[in-house]
């Protein structure tokens, strides 16, 4: 029998508020993150992402509200919470004069690791972040940006944290290095909870289980990519490539779905094949019905059919559009 008891969330945030002077950076946000989840924290510049991450990592205090990490209240037991967290700040500041191994040893000791456990953990994180062999002996200042980023992530993972906060972990990295970072997170998925703030939406889309979209200090969207697609995109768009003419195709489609509208009509090749794009208000199921219907109509000779799902960028733009417009109007 499946148990209904939910495990304790790793992060619990309730009505968190923060002001910088007269500017409200956070206007009472609430969310929770479960064990082993990889959550993407998205939002335009100044949305309050870094402020939230800095509060969760114990660097700054919230003005009001509650933030708990591993069940421990940040306001009461900040020191204890820091034992559970690994944090990679934005821009990943590192001491350039130190060697990788010297830096990691220093950080391990600060995080309370001793003796054989220190050696063991250092070895493990070097292996996870692919920093073994010669790289660990090199000076941080002489490393490429990708390697520096891996050093930062290795540091965040050192003390076996239950929550790892990564602020812009793949910024400035080439696709190969980004893939390595992604692979590393996939490897640790389930054991460690990741909270990732990023502007690179394709990265978040590729590696996060869930997204939280912030805009002007408020959460404007939250959920899996599928949830967000359902919430923010009311129309399903599909494309067909056929030899049939426009009127014929439209008539056949409307036999199934009256809400379908033609949005694109384009010639594909000299044989008279055309590409049509339609939108429907009745979702993907209706689009699937239409495809079956069109394939059965032999006279149309449908050769391609494609349902285009909105990407995270579309969702992001729609989710943050309202707040963005409001702010622009005020300014």
């Amino acid at each position: 029998m499946k148990s209904d008891i939910k495990p304790l969330p790793i992060v619990e945030v309730l009505n968190l508020k923060k002001k910088y002077g007269n500017i409200k950076a956070l206007k009472g946000i609430s969310f929770s993150i479960g064990k082993g989840e990889i959550v993407g924290f998205l939002g335009p510049n100044g949305a309050g992402k870094s402020t939230t991450l800095r509060i969760l990592s114990g660097l700054i205090n919230a003005d009001s509200g509650e933030a708990k990490v591993c069940g421990v209240d940040l306001a009461e037991e900040e020191g204890l919470v820091k034992h559970h967290i690994g944090y990679l700040p934005e821009n990943n500041p590192l001491p350039e004069d130190l060697r990788v191994i010297e830096y990691l040893n220093f950080r391990s000791r600060l995080k309370g690791l001793r003796g054989s456990r220190l050696k063991e953990r250092t070895k493990i994180v070097l292996e996870i972040c692919d920093l073994e062999r010669k790289v660990s002996e090199r000076k941080i200042g002489n490393l490429s940006k990708g390697f520096k980023q891996r050093v930062g992530i290795a540091d965040a993972l050192l003390a076996e944290p239950r929550l790892v906060i990564l602020d812009e972990p793949t910024i400035g990295l080439d696709p190969h290095q980004s893939a390595i970072t992604r692979k590393m997170m996939e490897r640790l998925k389930g054991e460690i909870t990741f909270l990732i703030s990023s502007h690179i939406l394709s990265e978040v889309e590729a590696c996060c289980d869930r997204m939280i979209i912030l805009s002007h200090g408020q959460i404007v969207a939250e959920g899996t990519l599928h949830d967000l697609q359902k919430t923010f995109v009311d129309k399903t768009i599909f494309e067909i490539v056929t030899k049939g003419n426009k009127i014929e195709v439209q008539r056949k489609i409307r036999e199934i779905d009256i809400t379908c509208e033609l949005i694109l009509d384009d010639l594909v090749d000299v044989n008279g094949k055309r590409r049509f794009s339609f939108s429907t208000l009745n979702g993907e199921k209706s689009a699937e019905k239409i495809i079956r219907h069109l394939f059965n109509a032999k006279e149309l000779n449908v050769s391609e059919f494609h349902i285009s799902r909105p990407d995270l960028e579309t969702i992001f733009l729609r989710a943050t559009k309202k707040n963005w417009e409001e702010k622009t109007l005020i300014e």
Binding site: L59, I60, G79, H83, Y87, P89, L94, P95, E102, L110
Partner: protein, 260 residues
């Protein structure tokens, strides 16, 4: 290992690999050495009443505004500029421990430079034992008093330097602020000493109150006379420890304020 020791060892290591530490130490020790040489050459013709070892202490004392900024300016200012302070503060470390660890490393280096400067009279004593003996270089109580005096004021000067470093992100500004504050502190001591020896005594109650309250912290010059001949003044030890602690607490409050 306690976080204090981790920070202390790390800072010592950082100072050891920093070129500015070596450049500052070299110039400082050279100047002190040259000054000490000329002092000893002209000693016989002066009316100097204190043991000659005290001249070295005075050199180190007045040289401190130039030396201390080189040791302390990078401690927090550089970390703040690079952003490494933020990563440091995500570890379970207390602000007070962090300030104490960094100050201890700077103070250790200051002590090390003072110890190196004390090699000059030792060399003299080794090469010319008779002259060295006559100049009082073999008297242990002189050595003890002078060293203790330097340690006490070195502690407060380095604490001021660390405080200046917490105040800004710019190393140069931290250095200049540190130089200004230490010079101001020494000037206060000089003013206090000259006011004490002047005939005109201000009778206004407010001046008398200020003089009485600040005297323990500003009578450094007068205390040198006692320490250099081996008389240990316990109140000076006590006041300097309080002053150092006060400045370090101010530094950790400022650090806390910056991040909250």
């Amino acid at each position: 290992m306690h976080p204090f020791i981790v920070i202390f060892k790390h800072e010592i290591f950082s100072l050891f690999i920093s070129s500015s530490t070596y450049i500052a130490s070299f110039y400082f020790l050279t100047l002190i050495g040259v000054g000490f040489h000329f002092f000893l050459e002209s000693f016989a013709y002066t009316d100097w009443i204190l043991p000659p070892l005290s001249s070295l202490v005075i050199g180190l004392f007045f040289g401190a505004p130039a030396l201390v900024p080189f040791l302390t300016m990078r401690s927090f200012a550089e970390e703040r500029k690079l952003g490494t302070l933020e990563t440091l503060l995500t570890t379970p470390i207390d602000y007070g421990v962090l300030v104490l660890g960094k100050w201890s490393a700077c103070f250790f280096f200051f002590t090390k430079i003072c110890a190196l400067a004390f090699i000059y009279p030792l060399i003299l004593l080794y090469l010319y034992p008779d002259q060295g003996f006559n100049l009082g270089f073999s008297s242990v109580h002189y050595w003890f008093g002078c060293s203790l005096y330097l340690l006490l004021y070195g502690a407060s000067f380095t604490a001021i330097g660390v405080f200046a470093s917490v105040m800004t992100k710019n190393q140069m500004v931290a250095g200049m602020l540190s130089f200004t504050l230490i010079t101001l502190y020494i000037s206060l001591m000089a003013l206090s000493s000259s006011a004490k020896h002047s005939i005109a005594i201000n009778t206004k109650p407010i001046y008398q109150f200020l003089e009485q309250s600040l005297a323990p912290f500003t009578n450094g010059f007068d205390k040198l006379e006692q320490f250099s001949v081996g008389f240990i003044d316990l109140s000076t030890i006590f006041h300097q420890i309080i002053f150092t602690m006060f400045v370090l607490i101010l530094s950790s409050i400022q650090l806390n304020r910056l991040n909250k």
